[in-house]
Amino acid sequence: MMRYHPLIILYRIYQLIKNGLILGILLFVVKRDSDFWLLEYGRYVFIVGVLLRVIYIVGSWFVETYEWEERTFQIKKGLFVKHTSTIPFSKIQNVTRHTTLFHKLFGLTSLTFETAMDGDDDAITFQVVSKQHAAFLLELVNVEESQVPKLEKKEQDQHEEEVNEAENKVETDHVIHFEPTNQDLLKASFTSLSFLAIIPIVTGMYDFIEPLLPDSDQYQGVLYQIINSRWLIIMLSIIAVVIAIIIGIVRTFSRYGKYRISSSATHIYIERGLLDETHFAIEKQRIQGLEIEQKLLKRIFGLAEVKLISSASPQSEDYAVSVNSLYPFLPIKRAYQLMEALLPDYHVEESMNRLTKTSLYMKLIKPSWFWIVVTAGLFYFKPTIFQIDAAWWLLSLLLLLIVIANRILDYLHTKYLISDDQLQWWHGGLTSRMFITKRRRVIEMSYSQSILQRIFKLVSISTMNRSTPTRIETINDVPLDFAQTFQHWYLQRQKDTSYQENG
């Protein structure tokens, strides 16, 4: 029977302060003179709420415990309603160690084991845990079944020793695959669009400085004023751009600096963050598929984001960056190499089948319901935008152009291939995606054919992979023959799978 680290109380109170601060300031500082009933009672509710929460935080520390036996965790929770859950180690899909500034201050860390189970008990979180104990828990969960007795003996030994041992082991069989160089980071900070922050800054500064501009059309002429203020605009823009770039670089460095992707025979590890450190580990065989995503701007820079698709439910609350993302700014070739290095089962092919011209016609002819509905709305309300009366049909036209451009891009981007036990395809318009998975990971396939598609002898194929929520990937307007090949390929599924009787 183990109790959580006592500092968890402090950590939760710190979280409480962080979350309640804005509301508190609003109630007691900004609107302190208001006697609007909602605010007046709100103050009492707020104080009572905070007090109850503090009591709950302190009380729950005495009640919440965990223990482990053989191959399972037993978690006990609940101040009033007792709640016990059992989580077998074998269900743990990935591990995240997150060290925020708070943790650093006390030399602690947090640890989350995520499982693929449904419901509230799907993850075990140690919000505050000492580094030694975290390492011990990691060891505990990672061991093979045969090693269990050995470990239980170890348990009584000094933890310190074990940590060292674990670290040594980690050093030896880890292969580091990717660490961004400063150049990579600079490139990333430009692609992450953080420099776009100049727009609000510039407008803000212009508003601020406008009264100082020469207000002088009476005696100095309009031309002079424009030239004069244009200089100011240019200067301000330069200052703004410099500030924006600095902000962008600082943000990118603090998020993606000290980034490291490594792997052992069985696991993939991602470490990142300068101030908030996150260590993420996932077992390779839990990975259901891979995705490469290229937004418009990243495509221009030749960068891409690689994502792992796994069946664990992502716990996104605290993390600024999705845990399943490998690295959002990888050069595309590098992304392919990395995928193959991390998961040797996967082979990224570069030459793939492309759509035929008929698919393009199909994509262009297909009615866009979105455009029709928006246009109908615009036609009815005829809004005036930027003082232009004809704005409604201009908007509609613009939208139509975007829809068409998106479809043409989708046609150009769509590529597909099935080889051996692997399926790989690219699709998408402004944002394009590559999806790659193994036949045995596809839990269901279907294809559909609308009336229009029937005329052109085209179909849309969908696959389903385990993930939370279920991952459905669809590729539109591929030739009918390919769909039949695909179906035939999928029906050969048993070649890659082995069965066991479900007891």
Binding site: E444, S448, Q449, R454, I472, L491, Q500, E501, N502
Partner: protein, 160 residues
């Protein structure tokens, strides 16, 4: 592409038309109430346009609901073997679904009052990420199929 083995019960179109007609009648009553409310409370013009649009859709839908069941019946095929459940159906948009038996989580049959009158049952198959319904089978066929799927779905793949 080779055709799948089995079809729905031949009583499916009749039962379907009856149940669709009942829901259409309910739909029209709701629409009538909305029109009355719109008239009584003097709703803005756009709300009336939406109601008129809904009425048009409802009329077309009602006509379609008398035609569709026959074609749907003709298009419906299913097949099970040791490894896969395959379904094919659809009048305007055709769907072809392949589900590995080992991914089926549960199978159930159900029967509403109309289905009971015609001695038919529907089968619902749930997988990890979706569910599929075979809408109408003869009672005996449905029960046998449920037992068969349950038996075949017992196999579980290693590494899950």
């Amino acid at each position: 592409m080779n055709e799948l083995e089995h079809r729905l019960s031949s009583k499916f179109p009749k039962a379907r038309i009856i149940s669709e007609t009942i829901s259409n009648i309910i739909g029209f009553i709701v629409l009538a109430v909305l029109f009355w409310l719109g008239y009584y409370f003097d709703w803005p013009a756009w709300a009336n346009w939406i109601l008129i649009g809904l009425l048009l859709i409802a009329v077309v839908g009602t006509i379609w609901s008398f035609i569709e069941p026959h074609y749907l019946y003709r298009s419906w095929r299913y097949q099970i073997d040791i490894e896969y459940l395959q379904l094919r159906y659809g009048v305007l948009t055709k769907e072809w679904v392949t589900v590995p038996m080992s991914k089926i989580q549960s199978v159930s049959t159900s029967q509403g009052p109309i289905m009971r009158a015609y001695q038919m049952r529907s089968i619902k198959v749930e997988t990890m990420g979706s569910s599929h319904v075979i809408p109408a089978l003869e009672e005996q066929v449905a029960l046998e199929l449920r037992a068969r799927i349950a038996e075949l779905a017992k196999l579980k793949e290693v590494d899950e």
